[in-house]
């Protein structure tokens, strides 16, 4: 079995060597004071001193700091209230204000102090608004509390000034992850320039002058072995964490003695050889001393080889490797005490699944819970490799090299973007920007000028910031119609994929990258996906005086979650702008049917689904524009949509398409069967709609004068809430209901179900978490008084015969929380 130091020794020596070079660079740029943030900074500096032979070429020392002390400095004089509150809220979670006050003051206040008791008695929730009020209040306890933060702020200022000795730049060194201390100090003391050099960074929010050395990723990415540490960052924290408490107070601040004692404990700590993690740290120090004289290329080479092995160990550990690589239990910080185990022990009543979900190193826990064959698949899933355990082959760099070597004009991954246009320069210019902004560059833009002014089109092309080698103009002196124009465009070039980008629609810049990535993935190939659809926004707009006026956007057909032939047979439910497909299927179909003036894309989609599958990307990456507001030329004329301006033509050609498809001998007979069933569904749907309308009319008559504005949901247009997101009113209702339930009398079984959910209340925006909470705790979530059940049931006839309309715990309101929000339903309210 590999000895842990054989893997971690080279990696941590390389980190220290690179750290040294980066610190030299920053120092050379402008005279830096390098501060190693306690606690980890103590050991990092120890290793760096060893590497440099005790002669660092820059001014450096250990800095007694912690996130809570940086927060305290930020709260003084409310210099940095927002960030300080945010970091506190993340750390404390949902908790009463009094408990937060006690945690901040735990080193400062005597237990019997009446002011502490007054603050601890605050049982309201710890929120930004009430915390700010507390810090501004003028009662004795609040003034005392405020004074503590102001003294902390002043002490931090003095301490930083003393440490930096006139230098304008302070460089913080730490293990990293978010760089919260750097962010807090920079916002609190904005006259000092802070930089940070970290082992790793895991944060989606950008930050100036934050420099990761080993990895920068939120999660593990195959092909980037160093990101395996994102799966088990605690391994690094554990190695560098001294056996001493966090330095929560500030030197010469309101708790100077405590600060000095805490700092001394950190500086005087000695790694214990009998502790597995400390022993490994001592081995790393020995490795550093023995190999520090090696040339930097040799250090780099060995670290690279070791990283491949570490990747295997952290992602697919064997049971016997877990003890060596788990690290010591994680100590709590931010005013709290105690330890959290990395690996959960069996026998505490939990299931293996529960232990895995609570483990700080899930692949390690899985290795201990399941037999090897099962474990490998679960480990792969835990780190986001899907269920393809064999997918992992270890990093060789070959995949990245192959991707880098792909020619920029290769047919593989190339996309024909066909834009049909006719005398709509305002829209064509916007379509050009949409194409030019794509992050996927292997495309060919074919503009089909279908009988319009050619010169205007050429001027737009000349202005375009698009590689000219990727542009072709097909110009017809007379219009040939939409489908014939599509065929001219598709056939003008040879590419692997095709997409129709009409001149009035738009994409998100990542649209093509995501679609091509999906279609090229092994998953798509094995599932037979030859096309892919994304979600789309339906944009309402008008053209006025040559300008596009935006009137808002809503999810387009938000109920779509997959693409089946049956659903397509009922009617077309997506726009061409959202659909990328393989040219080979287009060739097999023979292109778009040119005799159809409308509905050509519907027929094409049915023929496509008769031959191949269409995958679905659950992201809003396209914009389907409608000029459905305004009058005159805005709706009709050259700027009309075919689906708005030509509705009657659609109705006329509907039976033509259906009959042609049923008669088409080249299609499998099952297509005709599906079309027949779809016809029945349309009849039923029509009948239901008629019944709904009659029912609504009846209700309106019954409610009479009491409801003069009708029974529909009362949502004034000017006060319309955003769709697709949990509203604040529902968030408050959910949080309030659950907290009140858990504080009240409950049967034990219900309490056990409820308590684990409290810690997840901050994740209510995640639909999966929200569903879990609502389903588990539906008994504790009453419907709010203003939620209009009747209107909601009218909107969602699909839940009439389900438990959501029954007499048990589940109610229409719960359906709205679980499904309605993500489906884009408007929240109906009474009154």
């Amino acid at each position: 079995m590999t000895k842990p130091v054989d893997v971690l020794g080279p990696i941590l020596l390389n980190w220290i060597a690179q750290l040294d070079r980066k610190l030299r660079f920053l120092d050379a740029r402008g005279g830096a004071k390098v501060l190693f943030c306690s606690r980890a900074g103590k050991r990092i500096k120890e290793q760096l001193d060893l590497y440099a032979g005790g002669e660092l070429s820059y001014d450096a020392e250990v800095f007694g700091i912690s996130r809570i002390s940086a927060v305290k400095a930020g709260l003084g004089y409310l210099k940095n209230f927002e960030q300080s509150f945010e970091v506190s809220r993340e750390s404390f979670g949902p908790t009463p204000m009094g408990d937060v006050c006690a945690a901040f003051l735990k080193n400062f206040a005597a237990g019997h102090d009446p002011r502490l008791h007054a603050l601890k008695a605050l049982r309201g929730e710890f929120r930004g608004d009430n915390f700010r009020v507390l810090l501004a209040a003028n009662d004795e306890a609040s003034r005392w509390f405020r004074d503590y933060f102001e003294k902390s702020h002043d002490a931090m200022r003095r301490h930083l000034d003393e440490l930096r000795g006139g230098r304008g730049q302070v460089v913080l060194v730490d293990t990293g992850w978010k760089g919260s201390i750097q962010r807090l100090l920079q916002a609190t003391f904005d006259d000092i320039r802070f930089s940070g050099v970290y082992f790793g960074v895991m944060d989606h929010a950008p930050m100036a002058n934050r420099y990761p050395v080993v990895f920068d990723a939120l999660s593990y990415h195959k092909g980037r072995p160093e990101t395996c540490l994102a799966v088990h960052r605690h391994l690094i924290e554990s190695l560098y964490e001294p056996a001493a408490p966090s330095v929560e107070e500030i030197a010469d601040g309101p708790c100077a003695e405590t600060a000095a004692r805490q700092m001394a404990a950190v500086m005087d700590e000695r790694p214990r050889p009998d502790d597995r993690s400390d022993a490994l740290y001592l081995d790393v120090l020995a490795y550093t001393e023995a190999h520090r004289g090696e040339p930097l290329d040799v250090i780099l080479e060995k670290a690279h080889a070791a990283m491949a092995e570490l990747e295997r160990i952290l992602i697919f550990p064997k049971p016997e490797e877990v003890a060596d690589f788990q690290g010591k239990p994680r100590s709590s910080d931010f005013g709290r005490e105690g330890f959290v185990p990395v690996i959960r022990q069996a026998g505490d009543g939990d299931t293996p699944e529960a232990r895995v979900s609570r483990s700080l190193w899930q692949p390690g826990q899985i290795a201990l819970e399941y037999p090897p064959g099962v474990a490998r698949d679960l480990q792969a899933r835990a780190v986001g490799l899907g269920n393809q355990a064999n997918y992992f082959s270890g990093y060789t760099g070959e995949a990245a090299a192959a991707a880098g070597a792909r020619e920029e004009f290769s047919r593989e991954g190339s996309v024909a973007i066909v834009t049909r246009t006719k005398d709509r320069p305002v829209l064509l210019e916007r379509a050009m920007r949409s194409v030019a902004d794509q992050t996927w560059r292997n495309y060919h833009w074919v503009i089909v000028n279908d009988g319009g002014n050619r010169q205007v089109v050429e001027e737009i092309i000349e202005r375009s910031p698009i590689d000219r080698r990727r542009i072709t103009l097909v110009s017809n002196d007379r219009s040939v119609g939409m489908e014939a124009a599509s065929n001219l465009g598709v056939r003008a070039v040879d590419t692997e994929f095709v997409v129709i980008h009409d001149d009035d629609d738009r994409w998100n810049p990542e649209f093509l990258e995501r679609c091509v990535g999906f279609l090229s993935s092994p998953k798509a190939v094995s599932a037979g996906f030859e096309g892919v659809l994304t979600r789309a926004w339906r944009v309402s707009e008008e053209i006025r005086d040559g300008e596009v006026i935006h009137h808002g956007q809503t999810p387009f057909n938000p109920w779509v979650n997959d693409v089946t032939l049956f659903q397509m047979a009922i009617g077309n439910f997506f726009a061409p702008i959202s659909f990328v497909y393989r040219r080979s299927v287009y060739d097999a179909i023979g292109g778009y049917h040119e005799k159809l003036p409308v509905l050509g894309d519907w027929r094409f989609n049915i023929e496509f689904l008769a031959r191949a599958n269409i995958g679905f990307i659950d992201e809003y990456l396209s914009y389907y524009h409608h000029r459905d507001v305004g009058t005159g030329a805005s709706i009709g004329g050259v700027y009309q949509n075919s689906v708005i301006g030509g509705r009657s033509v659609h109705a006329e050609y509907f039976p033509v398409v259906v009959n042609d498809l049923i008669r088409d001998q080249t299609l499998p007979p099952s297509v005709a069967t599906v079309l027949g069933q779809a016809h029945l569904v349309r009849i039923l749907e029509h009948r239901f709609n008629m019944s709904d309308q009659k029912l609504a009319a009846l209700e309106e008559r019954l409610s009479g004068a009491a409801a003069p504005e009708g029974p529909g949901p009362a949502v004034p247009a000017e006060e319309a809430e955003p769709l697709g997101v949990l509203l604040q009113t529902d968030r408050d209702h959910l949080v309030g209901a659950l907290l009140s339930a858990v504080r009240g009398e409950l049967p034990e079984e219900r309490r056990e179900r409820l308590e684990p959910l409290i810690g997840k209340l901050h994740q209510l925006d995640d639909p999966g978490v929200r569903e879990e909470i609502v389903r588990e705790a539906s008994f504790a979530i009453p419907s709010p008084a203003d939620f209009d059940h009747i209107s909601y049931l009218k909107q969602r006839t699909d839940i009439w015969a389900t438990p959501f309309n029954g007499f048990e715990d589940l109610k229409p309101y719960h359906h709205y929380l679980i499904h309605g929000i993500t489906d884009g339903e408007r929240r109906p309210t009474t009154g």
């Binding site: 050379a28 740029r29 060995k302 910031p465 017809n476 007379r478």
Partner: protein, 292 residues
């Protein structure tokens, strides 16, 4: 009914498919490109050129091989100067690449742009090699200049375009995204036999920090000359920096791609170097291979 198909980018495609620079630029096929240049030149006041792989053409060596040549020259000069032993070539080369990577990562941002500077790169690499600045800073600097100069040559075609622009009374400038300062670039341009008298000014991102890729240097140029973007014509080899970013900023632009055959040779050179540098395991130097 008549349908006409117009394929854009014919000249760019011909350059890209040519076996080398000269076989296109010295052929008759270059005339449509000159015509386009003259058409656009007539609409503009300032004619701007990229420097590396436009005014000064690099050979078929990759950047990695060039740095290896520099490292070898540095070691030779150190030995000749009797300065004792210096690390091996692979170590010196690694230090050069890592120092550049550090400089690009850690240099202060200006409007979202970062740029490494040659002086800082050399200082950091010498420190990484645990060598004293005196005399090794100067030894590396001179070695790198000598190798750069020996692997560059002036483009006769571009010189003709410069002459054409000067004859039309246009202001000619150079704009480069490069770690070398404007004065260092001027030294290399002159070393390749191109007179600086025709050139009003050289903008280098090593000095301005804002660069072509972000488009911000074009704003800077417009500001300095008090001119509208549409009155500037820019030419260069980088699709992103010299063409797309310039067009987004409203400039007229011509893209002069590097022939694919040359890029392929540079890619081969890069791979050969990486193979040679790898021992039992690959040496993961942070330097991108040339993109085809």
């Amino acid at each position: 009914m008549a349908t006409e198909t117009i394929i854009y980018g014919r000249e760019e495609r011909e350059i890209y498919e040519a076996p080398d620079f000269d076989s296109y630029y010295r052929s008759d096929r270059v005339q449509p490109l000159v015509d386009r240049f003259e058409t656009l030149l007539a609409r503009t006041d300032i004619c701007s050129f990229d420097v590396f792989d436009t005014v000064l053409l690099r050979d078929e060596r990759s950047e990695l091989e060039r740095f290896a040549d520099v490292a070898a020259e540095f070691i030779r000069r150190a030995a000749a100067a009797g300065e004792g032993s210096v690390p091996e070539l692979r170590t010196c080369l690694s230090a050069r690449v890592l120092a550049a990577s550090t400089a690009y990562q850690m240099s202060p941002e200006v409007q979202g742009c970062r740029e490494g500077r040659f002086e800082e790169i050399v200082r950091n690499l010498v420190a990484s090699l645990s060598l004293p600045e005196e005399p090794y800073l100067a030894l590396w600097r001179e070695a790198e200049f000598e190798i750069e100069a020996s692997q560059l040559r002036g483009s006769a075609f571009i010189e003709n375009l410069i002459d054409l622009a000067v004859a039309r009374d246009k202001t000619v400038i150079f704009v480069s995204d490069m770690y070398l300062s404007a004065s260092d670039i001027a030294r290399l341009v002159e070393g390749c036999g191109i007179s600086l008298e025709k050139i009003a000014r050289i903008f280098s991102s090593a000095d301005t920090v804002v660069n072509k890729r972000s488009g911000l240097v074009y704003d800077l140029v417009c500001g300095e000359y008090g001119t509208e973007p549409g009155r500037i014509l820019h030419l260069g080899d980088s699709l992103e920096g010299d063409f797309i970013a310039a067009k987004r900023r409203g400039l007229e632009a011509i893209h002069l791609p590097i022939p694919k055959a040359i890029l392929r040779k540079r890619l081969d050179s890069h791979r050969r170097m990486m193979d040679r540098l790898g021992g039992d395991a690959a040496l993961p130097l942070p330097i991108a291979p040339p993109a085809l």
